[in-house]
């Protein structure tokens, strides 16, 4: 069973009185352990696509199935629960909460899940894997861009999701940090997590198993020779 199955997904806005399709009939299937890169210029619809897949934005048409569950058929609360337990999301830009330490930022998904199990082991395992365990008690304003991004990845992995969505995770990172982030995704994919990430250029996309191109809301899979 595919972890992600997107069919005919559309999002239509009215901009300046004129209908505008941010995402136009997008289709995508991602299997467990697969790493898929979505490339496209700014405004091509990548972020809108991610947010519809994560159940954060209601599509105009189409369907999204995560681990066999049609997320559009769920109530808001059920969708929140699914997002919390099955989807890890690394949003675009700096997404850590400035007033919480790295430790508290990373365990936020666990807090929202209202679980009773011991969280400390999992948090420090993830921070260790990403090389930032020594920064657990540090607040985000004192971190570098790469450290913040790694903390955001750790947070996305907190509840052991089956699907990881990362919106331009290397967008504002230097080459070294970008490589570290992509290494982390590759490791996750190797452990069976389906990873879908977006990028402006091809550097990061080269690490993906498959590359999907997005232009004016439409998706097109690149053939092996194009990649």
């Amino acid at each position: 069973m595919s972890v992600l199955d997107v069919r005919g997904l559309c999002k239509e806005y009215v901009r300046g009185g004129v209908p505008f399709r941010a995402v136009d009939s997008a289709n995508l299937r991602v299997e467990p352990g697969e790493m898929v890169g979505i490339v496209g210029r700014s405004g091509s619809g990548k972020t809108t696509f991610f947010n519809m897949v994560a159940g954060l934005l209601t599509p105009s048409a189409g369907s999204v199935s995560v681990a066999g569950t049609d997320i559009l058929a769920l109530s808001d609360a059920e969708r929140s629960e699914l997002r919390n337990r099955r989807i890890g999301y690394v949003p675009q830009g700096q997404s850590l909460l400035a007033n919480l330490t790295v430790l508290d930022n990373v365990r936020l998904p666990h807090y929202f899940a209202a679980r009773d199990d011991n969280v400390a082991g999992r948090v420090f395992y993830l921070l260790g894997e990403l090389g930032i365990a020594h920064l657990a008690e540090t607040c985000p304003p004192q971190l570098s861009g790469g450290e913040m991004r790694r903390a955001a990845i750790a947070r996305a992995m907190m509840n052991r999701p089956e699907l990881l969505l990362a919106d331009e995770p290397t967008g504002d990172l230097d080459a070294g940090n970008a490589r570290a982030a992509m290494d982390a995704f590759a490791a996750l994919a190797a452990s069976g997590v389906a990873v879908v990430f977006s990028a402006h250029g091809d550097d990061a996309a080269r690490r993906a198993d498959r590359v999907v191109e997005m232009e004016r809301g439409a998706m097109r899979e690149r053939t092996f020779s194009e990649a």
């Binding site: 954060l56 934005l57 808001d76 929140s80 997002r83 337990r85 007033n99 807090y111 969280v119 509840n159």
Partner: protein, 399 residues
């Protein structure tokens, strides 16, 4: 590792902007202060008035012309004063038509403290004729003081059995009376005989006493008669010869009750107004703040927070602010009303009797509850609004 809780998240959010959080806290504190301080004051005055009306057994009070205000001040707040009426008036009034009983009192102010160890009002009464002080003193199981003895009001210093110096003469404190909330609390009671003896030997030349004089005469009107008619008849007969003034106690109490009514109304209005102001300030603050924090709440939604959880975080923040403000305001009201109630009631010309600790506790709990409620109630709309709509749009609108 401490578990992450809503309390911790809310506390961190408030600490992030200390000045703004302190400002909100102050708005609630002012409201709680007005509510609790006003209630303490008006209830204390209410008890003072009640205590006074229970203890003032006379229907008519006769004082020298122009001294009615000083007399009331001495009676209500124990402000020491000295004034005299010709003593032969006592017998004349005792047999005046409609008067059932007449009891003289002698007021001696010790404000010029050089004569005494402390500024007090000495009230001398005639144990044989008295029907105002004696029943109340007896109710405290206190015998009539002997020649060199005095009975002291609740707030007069000195232990029972020790001595107090008045006008250079020492008196033994025979007993201490319960708190009344009136001027009696700072008064010293002795018999008329002791007072006259004291005045004859007084070392202080400032005390100019005309032998046989009294300060006031308390009159009880025969049952069934109109008090004002009797008062008018006395005025007609003796106002010129004795230069006297009449205070009808019922009118005095009713005047004080009217003042109390005004004070209660004012304190309630102030409390309500400050509560509304605090609620408005919190409503505006949370409305604007949540608009600023849309990105933060959008991130919470991304991580799987349900709408109710977001509302819970916001409500918790407002609860913390209002609880801290409420406790601060109530503590300030307690700290300021207790030591300064005398100053306040003197300015308002009202008697004051502090409410019992148990009642104050209940009142404080009620005010705290009302203050704590102001936060969550005023931000309820914003709390609900933050979770509405698509989470992605919430996130984008906060960028």
């Amino acid at each position: 590792m401490k578990p992450l809780t809503t309390f911790q998240i809310a506390k961190n959010n408030l600490r992030r902007r200390p000045a703004r959080s302190a400002g909100l806290c102050m708005a609630v504190a002012v409201s709680a202060f007005a509510m609790f301080g006003g209630a303490l004051l008006s209830q204390g005055v209410g008890r003072g008035v009640e205590s006074m009306s229970n203890r003032l057994g006379a229907d008519i009070l006769v004082v020298p012309h122009g001294y009615d205000k000083q007399f009331q001040a001495a009676l209500l707040r124990g402000e020491p004063s000295t004034f005299y009426l010709k003593g032969d008036l006592v017998d004349k009034l005792r047999f005046f038509p409609g008067v059932e009983r007449a009891a003289p009192q002698l007021f001696l102010a010790t404000l010029n403290a050089s004569c005494c160890t402390m500024p007090v009002q000495v009230i001398a009464y005639d144990p044989e004729a008295d029907f105002v002080v004696k029943p109340w003193v007896s109710a405290n199981a206190v015998p009539t003081p002997a020649g060199d003895e005095v009975v002291v009001g609740h707030m007069v210093g000195g232990e029972t059995g020790t001595e107090i110096s008045l006008f250079g003469r020492k008196f033994r404190i025979a007993a201490r009376l319960d708190r009344t909330g009136m001027g009696f609390d700072t008064s010293v009671f002795m018999t008329m005989g002791s007072a006259k003896k004291l005045l004859r030997t007084a070392k202080n030349a400032a005390v100019k006493y005309e032998p046989g004089s009294v300060s006031s005469i308390m009159l009880a009107v025969a049952p069934g008669l109109n008090i004002k008619d009797v008062a008018n008849a006395i005025l007609r007969e003796y106002a010129i010869d004795y230069d006297l003034e009449i205070v009808v106690s019922r009118s005095m109490i009713s005047d004080i009750a009217k003042k109390l009514g005004g004070l209660s109304l004012l304190s309630r209005a102030l409390a309500a107004l400050s509560w509304i102001c605090a609620a408005a300030a919190l409503f505006i603050f949370f409305f604007l703040m949540l608009d600023e924090r849309r990105r933060e709440f959008g991130l919470f939604r991304i991580l799987g927070a349900k709408r109710g959880k977001l509302a819970g975080i916001v409500l918790y923040e407002s609860l913390l602010v209002s609880a801290a403000g409420g406790i601060l305001g109530i503590a300030a009201a307690l700290g300021l009303t207790a030591p300064f109630h005398r100053l306040i009631t003197t300015a308002l010309e009202l008697p004051y009797l502090a409410i019992p600790a148990g009642s104050a506790l209940v009142l404080g709990a009620g005010c705290l509850l009302s203050s704590v409620a102001v936060g969550p109630l005023s931000c309820l709309y914003s709390a609900i609004r933050i979770g509405s709509g698509d989470a992605y749009l919430t996130l984008r609108s906060g960028e």
